[in-house]
Symmetry: C2
Subunit: 241 residues, 2 copies
């Protein structure tokens, strides 16, 4: 495999030996205006499913450009079949959750509206762009899909055989425990800062395939809880083992 | 125990039944100017070792005030004897590491200067204030001490019988494994974004009591690695079990 380039770019084109990739105005501005690259320089590209490729800049213009794939520089690494469900919080911390979930390896990120969710305005296009940027910066080859916000009750109705790891601050103090077979589809649900409502908690308690876990005796913010829960899942049932 | 108040204030005074607490100008401005509290209102106070107390505002002025302790509202919760050692990074992410370490439960936070540390200017007073604020906001009763920055070689010389969990991105891909007796003193070392130098890695490899762990097959940023490492340690050897 080729050496890995420092500049990484997510593209929507298919990648393969000799494949050319046209650049849009934003990509051209970034590569040639901001990063000051020129014809002949190398960058890394990935599209979310063909691995990372070393590519040469074949044409460079103000609003357009062309890359040519030279060789595979890192194999495709798909995450386990894990979704992260979270109740949207303040902008900075929501961005943070998307960034961390992308780094740590999830397949899908779903904003969930609960009885105590404060912020209902979620700009999915912005969060999706944030996931792309996180993958570009951290060497990832996969970009999780950021789904449209969905109400918790509807989401639970549609889970089918997906197991649910559910973190609730009302459980603080009980021991964390997580088990199951590897390879099964899972989702991690991070509650809102105010916790779940009593009806929501009852529904979660009745749900087949729901595993409640504790994240220790301290109260964690939602963004901290997301990273801690992803760590427990990935190291126990995911691809960290 | 008393109900817990929503406003929480770290103070330097001893706390106990009937104890009065003089407020400095900054605390008075926060309570009476920003939070608009008045004589008779209740707040929660903690000093890092006497638990959380419910206190009544006894006097309120523009630049001064007095609180009176009414009763214990949460017991003192000290963290395990765990230190977090990290190579300082960009301001926002350094702040984040201090906030998360405070939330998750460490006794001491030590900025470490390594061969590849980029940012050597660390304002300890600012980071210490950040740890206080994180404890105030997350219901904590303990505030970790933020130590002066120290060179890695010197720190390793002075570790004595403290065990070291050491996370290095060169280990990405090997299985995480962590074991030991509960209650022993430990430190978690998070390397700089550029990794450790070869001499540093050799020194760490030779160190008695050093346990290298992997945080999965993906490259994690230093701040993500800190939260993931704290989660693995706390759930395996700490007080989350």
């Amino acid at each position: 495999m080729m050496d890995r380039a420092k500049i990484r770019l997510f593209v929507n084109e298919a990648l393969g030996q000799g494949q050319t990739i046209p650049l849009d105005p934003a990509q051209s501005h970034y590569l040639f205006g901001v990063m000051r690259t020129a014809v002949g320089d190398r960058v890394a590209v990935f599209n979310g499913h063909d691995g990372e490729w070393s590519a040469e800049i074949a044409e460079a213009g103000k609003k357009r450009g062309l890359l040519r794939c030279l060789g595979l520089s890192a194999p495709q690494l798909d995450p386990p079949d894990l979704w992260l469900l979270f109740a949207p919080i303040k902008k900075t911390r929501t961005d943070f959750i998307v960034e961390k979930a992308t780094e740590m390896g999830v397949r899908r990120i779903v904003p969930v509206l609960t009885d105590f969710t404060n912020s209902e305005r979620v700009r999915i296009d912005r969060l999706q762009a944030h996931a792309v940027e996180a993958a570009e910066q951290c060497g990832g080859t996969f970009v999780p899909n950021v789904a449209q916000p969905v109400k918790l009750a509807k989401l639970l109705d549609d889970l089918q055989d997906r197991r649910l790891m559910f973190c609730d601050e009302a459980l603080v103090g009980t021991a964390p425990a997580l088990s199951g077979e590897r390879g099964a589809p899972w989702a991690i649900l991070i509650g809102p800062e105010g916790g779940f409502s009593d009806p929501e908690r009852a529904r979660l308690g009745d749900l087949d395939g729901a595993h409640s876990v504790s994240l220790g005796p301290r109260i964690l913010r939602a963004d901290t809880a997301a990273v801690a829960a992803l760590t427990l899942w990935q190291s126990t049932l995911g691809d960290w083992g």
